[in-house]
Symmetry: C2
């Protein structure tokens, strides 16, 4: 049985082990600092498809199949998949996985979806509802720009606070059986919506930072731990602007996270050499970094106890046009080995 | 511990009891045959808001608050809410519940979302991760038409196979504590994607029927039961066209469901008097009918053992324009008293 600890945190009893993981990215991500960490990439980000949306669907398929292969599993072994993306009606997930014949749970949590899915998959393992459960998310720069901002052909100029949506996907397969030498999910913390009234759709980092700060605080309070108990705290895609705001927000609560923080959106691109402004973003950002770089560091013995959090900004072009603010939500998993 | 039975079904051990439920609908739904069953309604479907999207957000808030009130609970008592809707980026859910300070799990399962959320909430109760968990979904005719088809002002003519998106919302609050005389969720069955190649966005019933047939068959096989073991099987929103197709599909497998089937989309409107063509549809259709009519029949002693299934058609305007078919997915809960 899972145990609630405090208001927000759930300590898992039957720990879900990470049996396999997979990542796939586009050209720009492959050319970034983590390029060699990813399982697969494509050199024009179309992946041989005739639309960016279809390319994104293919990304999810490749990521899940890679994770299954590494886990030594077939599709029929997996009891359920939690999947989500940024596209309207989650077509990246549903069309990417439609031929898989695996019970499918569609999620929408903006860029928080990877840890949302991983948390739910963990609870399915813990509860006995699944022997194997998977989580997968994706994003694609070109499909996201067209949907959220402008078609690329318009050549719109992006402000420095804007982030670059990662073209990529990551998948994690969890197992109820202990996997010797492999990391496991120890606990999960679902986020609440935090809304400080940010309205600039080109500054998602600032919109997400308050929810990241809130979830970290909730988890530390609930578990009676401090940042010193963890190797590192990862955020999904706060980028430069959001990370700086996170430091400020936590500092006002007496928490100095600077030396123990890393942001997937800042890791995946070289901001000096690649024209990405404030850093990477998108569902595929934390998903691809988690299922490559982070997992590799657990395998190499560099990491033993990590807090990993995907961070989401909640808005749509319609909500923005109707004058709504952009609230944020962040979900956290504690990964140990 | 939950127990898997067969490939798709999960039998719950700690049964989640339905502690409270709430429903709210628009003008047309209030004027329909179930009008007197709903907790609340509005006479112009705007609910005092200045946009249909904001009205839809308010629907979710009202439904959840009504369910909590009936359960005698405050917002702080609920450990997590599973919420979803049809709007891009699920703004109905996220904006409707943003001030609730409850950990929020955003879902996208098209019109299958009510039982998707209810299944996950049930598993959270069963696993010990939550003492109280809620599920809520909504849809709104005007926001859905604008987003999926045409703005209402265009006056587009709808074919007879088209369905009418329900303006409504329903919420269910589950409790880990036995609630004397109240129904509970006995088991859940997550659906797989079924795609028979339907491409007509004005015939969602036909797109969803194969997945409804598949989930019913999976559940009956897994539990080694027949339709005679249940009072009734509800589908979410197959409407007239989809229901007829469901009968045909199941008949080819030797299952005659005609006398034990009811469709929320056919119950909520009077097709002879109300101009809804093939019936009602939308996330709010099965949600509002479940959390009014169905619950009332359990209370009155008419129902003892019901299979309830929300049915979803997976598409977006973009996927349709790119020539994709419309796959379906249906998730089932077995409700007993």
């Amino acid at each position: 049985m899972a145990q609630r600890q405090g208001k927000h945190t759930i300590i898992l009893d039957n720990k879900p082990y990470i049996a396999g993981y997979g990542s796939v990215v586009g050209k720009k991500e492959f050319e970034g600092p983590l390029g060699h960490e990813f399982d697969a990439h494509d050199l024009d980000s179309r992946f041989g498809e005739d639309s960016y949306e279809k390319a994104e669907s293919l990304l999810q398929k490749i990521a899940l199949e890679t994770a299954l292969q590494k886990a030594g599993l077939g599709e029929n072994d997996v009891d359920m998949v939690f999947a989500g993306d940024l596209l309207n009606q989650c077509i990246g997930s549903y069309f990417g996985l439609r031929n898989k014949n695996i019970p499918l749970i569609g999620l929408y949590g903006a860029c928080s979806t990877m840890t949302l899915g991983l948390s739910l998959a963990s609870l399915m393992i813990d509860s006995g509802a699944a022997s194997y459960a998977a989580a997968v998310t994706s994003s694609h720069f070109c499909s996201a720009e067209r949907q959220y901002r402008f078609p690329l052909e318009y050549g719109a100029v992006r402000p420095q606070s804007a982030q670059w949506t990662v073209t990529g996907s990551g998948a994690t397969v969890l197992s109820a059986q202990k996997q010797s030498g492999k990391p496991y999910i120890d606990s999960v913390c679902f986020g609440t919506i935090e809304d400080l009234g940010v309205t600039d759709a080109n500054n998602m980092g600032a919109a997400m930072a308050p929810s990241a700060a809130s979830t970290i605080k909730h988890f530390l309070e609930d578990t009676d731990t401090t940042l010193h108990d963890y190797d590192l705290v990862f955020t999904g895609d706060l980028g430069k602007v959001g990370s700086d705001l996170l430091y400020e927000l936590l500092e006002s609560d007496g928490i100095d996270i600077r030396c123990r923080h890393s942001d997937c959106g800042l890791l995946i691109f070289d901001r000096k050499k690649q024209d990405v402004h404030a850093g990477g973003s998108g569902c595929g950002c934390s998903a691809s970094v988690l299922n490559s770089f982070v997992m590799h560091r657990f395998e190499s013995g560099d990491f033993h106890n990590v807090l990993f959090m995907s961070t989401g900004a909640l808005m749509s072009p319609t909500s923005a046009m109707q004058g709504e603010s952009i609230p944020g939500i962040s979900h956290l998993v504690n990964i140990k080995i």
